[in-house]
């Protein structure tokens, strides 16, 4: 018969692992400060950085979508509407921390300092990853979903074994939480007490499939308790709240407190990608409701109300974003020549005999074609 002591221990262990009923929010949809005793508003400098990151991020995002129409990008999955989640989370990282992003997180990677052309290399189709992951401590963008969650746990464990103070932030979507790798990653992270923050942007849809068909859990954050790690739910259109939550999760992991699962409640304003047609599966009315909760407008109003921002600063930042977009456009308009030799590069540390022979075959084809 199970003992009363065992039951008490399980009860104690479960404490603090469940999310709050209402998502954590610091600035509400009407740009008013919410009182929350548990969470502190980021300071003014931080809020301005968040605003700036979101403005630059959105301009980058709209430029990338435009590049698909000009045939300069093979595909682009927009993060429009999710800027508070993207920027709020990534700006919480310290320089030596690592980011494991997905294909929808180009905005976050750019904010991490990676050259935007290098960020878009994957979506341009010129290589599978355009940046050196070690330079900015950003893993290649995960395209099959959730596989990177396990890599993040492994890297976090490696950092711990080396005695380094490194925390790993892995970005996932609501759809990715259904993948087995996510469950394995949450479980292993909790067992190992690995310094990982699982940041799930619940944007309502996995391409066309709504959350209700993805999970029967009360919320995605509720999945934490089953694995023994705390689950937080945050208003994903509130950059201040996202930033506060992720910052605290990073501090906790850094101090040896282990992993945290954060569900960031947001919405994908655009279709899945430029190639998708969202009118086939969702109502425009729903989109409009979320447009009214726009993360950039919200923080701008908050900052204007407190005179932390004025029209001239807003204009200057918009102009800066336009300049960056123009530069990106110009650089993306340059053709990247395709060299067949690249096919055989970096399959192994040293090319195998078979690959050298196949490379010679294609070289012969090229010579024959040129003759």
């Amino acid at each position: 018969m199970p003992s009363r002591t065992a039951a008490t221990q399980a009860g104690t262990a479960a404490q603090g692992l469940l999310p709050t009923d209402v998502p954590i929010s610091l600035i509400d949809a009407d740009a008013r400060a919410c009182s929350d005793d548990d969470w502190k508003m980021p300071d003014e400098l931080r809020l301005l950085k968040l605003y700036r990151g979101m403005v630059l991020g959105r301009r980058f995002d709209s430029q990338a979508t435009a590049l698909t129409k000009q045939g300069r990008l093979a595909v682009y999955p927009s993060a429009r509407g999710q800027e508070a989640s993207e920027i709020g989370a990534v700006l919480a990282l310290r320089p030596h921390d690592w980011l494991f992003p997905t294909y929808r997180d180009s905005v976050a990677i750019t904010a991490r300092g990676v050259d935007p052309v290098e960020v878009l290399t994957l979506l341009r189709g010129s290589w599978h990853c355009g940046y050196d992951p070690y330079e900015h401590r950003v893993a290649p963008q995960c395209t099959p979903l959730a596989t990177s969650a396990l890599h993040a746990v492994g890297l976090a464990q490696a950092a711990r074994m080396k005695g380094e103070d490194t925390v790993v932030l892995v970005m996932l979507g609501d759809g990715a939480t259904s993948e087995g790798d996510t469950s394995e990653a949450l479980n292993i992270a909790a067992v190992w007490n690995a310094p990982v923050v699982f940041f799930v942007q619940n944007n309502g849809y996995a391409i066309s499939v709504p959350l209700a068909k993805q999970t029967a859990a009360p919320s995605l954050a509720h999945r934490g308790i089953g694995f023994g790690l705390p689950g937080l739910r945050v208003d994903g259109n509130d950059a201040a709240a996202v930033h506060a939550c992720v910052s605290r999760a990073i501090e906790r992991a850094s101090a040896g407190g282990g992993p945290t699962l954060i569900e960031s409640m947001t919405y994908r304003i655009e279709a899945h990608t430029n190639a998708d047609d969202a009118t086939r599966y969702r109502d425009q009315h729903e989109v409009e409701q979320w447009l009214a909760r726009d993360p950039i407008t919200r923080l701008r109003r908050y900052l204007l109300d407190r005179k932390l921002l004025d029209e001239s600063k807003i204009d200057a930042l918009d102009a800066e974003a336009d300049t960056a977009a123009a530069q990106l456009r110009e650089r993306m308009n340059a053709d990247v020549p395709a060299d067949p030799d690249e096919l055989f590069k970096d399959v192994y540390a040293e090319p195998t005999t078979a690959l050298r022979r196949q490379r010679a075959m294609i070289d012969a084809e090229c010579r024959a074609g040129a003759a």
């Binding site: 990853c129 099959p144 396990l150 492994g154 976090a156 790798d181 590069k345 970096d346 399959v347 540390a349």
Partner: protein
């Protein structure tokens, strides 16, 4: 640790040779870690990691939760940050939950990152039948991995190769799938003083009349076949392939140019098995030397049978001898 452990002396089982090889990698490189199910206190279900956790600590040799994708996926993260993980998959049939991580992640990260990220991960898989096991414990899944770019795949047939090849695999900067023929774990042999090259086939018995190519658990069977054939006055050459990817067909092509006859033996199912690729390469390179069609002796295209029937399923001496007869009578 003071000093490095020596090469095993005298007759050693393959299991002990692997253990000694792994011990040596742990001694030589502080970045080597061993991870998997039951590899710690238990020393693995086949005892290949016996005593290693006791001697190197739980940070270097550790049990993972029971999750193969998790083992491989976390090894990727460890390797990105400079570690050299050696993952144990408990049985061949259990590798498939980790298949996506191996094929899409382990095999492709180096290429994806344009060479920036190296994943020196060794994935050890006990494989093959003949031990009277239940379902999912006797599979030969090597062709799935040899078909996948970015992976190296090797298998040992003797204690000597087991010792040296595991050391070489762990030291390689590319990911290596290391197939261990579990029915040979307890067979004994001497460990050579020096290794041969990892990714090369080896002629284990020279002969003039016909070439038998085998690997892993089938090398021993092929040598038995050669003994019986010798009594019948036939001089068979036996080649141990050793490296399945990169596939080293140089030795077999050179051999077939002399003998004109080739029988390829593997336990794995026939269709699209490694034998098909070997046959294609040999006929392309040695067409005018061939005196007979290339023949394969393999498992059947059925699920691996229950142990009551495995002796009927597995390639054996008689079945290989029959192929030898057919080839030489052609």
């Amino acid at each position: 640790m003071t000093g490095l452990s020596a090469v095993p002396d005298g007759l050693t089982t393959m299991a002990k040779a692997l253990n000694a090889g792994l011990r040596r990698t742990l001694e030589e490189d502080p970045k080597v870690v061993i991870m998997g199910e039951d590899v710690g206190k238990l020393g693995g279900v086949f005892r290949i990691t016996d005593g290693l956790q006791k001697d190197f600590g739980e940070a270097r040799v550790f049990d993972t939760p029971l999750a193969e994708a998790g083992i491989i996926g976390t090894a990727v993260g460890l390797a990105i940050r400079g570690y050299r993980p050696v993952c144990e998959i408990q049985f061949d049939g259990f590798v498939f939950p980790g298949f996506d991580q191996i094929v899409n992640q382990v095999g492709r990260m180096h290429n994806r990152s344009a060479g920036a990220v190296k994943l020196p991960i060794t994935i050890r898989i006990p494989y093959g039948g003949g031990i009277g096991a239940i379902e999912h414990h006797s599979e030969s899944p090597e062709a799935y991995f040899t078909h996948s770019p970015g992976l190296k795949v090797v298998t040992c047939a003797t204690p000597s190769d087991a010792y040296w090849m595991i050391r070489q695999a762990v030291a390689d900067d590319d990911p290596v799938i290391f197939f261990e023929p579990k029915r040979r774990y307890w067979s004994k042999g001497e460990v050579a003083a020096q290794p041969g090259p990892l990714y090369r086939a080896r002629t284990v018995r020279p002969g003039r009349d016909l070439t038998v190519l085998a690997y892993g658990p089938m090398v021993g069977v092929a040598l038995e076949v050669a003994e019986v054939a010798a009594d019948e006055g036939r001089d068979l050459e036996v080649i141990d392939l050793r490296s399945l990817a990169p596939l080293d067909t140089d030795a077999v092509i050179e051999s077939v140019r002399r003998t004109g006859h080739l029988v390829i033996v593997h336990e794995a199912q026939r269709t699209n098995g490694l034998g098909a690729e070997i046959a294609a390469r040999v006929q392309e390179a040695a067409f005018y030397s061939l005196e007979a069609p290339l023949l394969r002796v393999t498992g059947y295209d059925t699920p691996y049978p229950p142990s009551r029937l495995e002796e009927e399923w597995l390639p054996n001496v008689d079945r290989i001898l029959d192929a030898v007869d057919r080839s030489l009578a052609y």
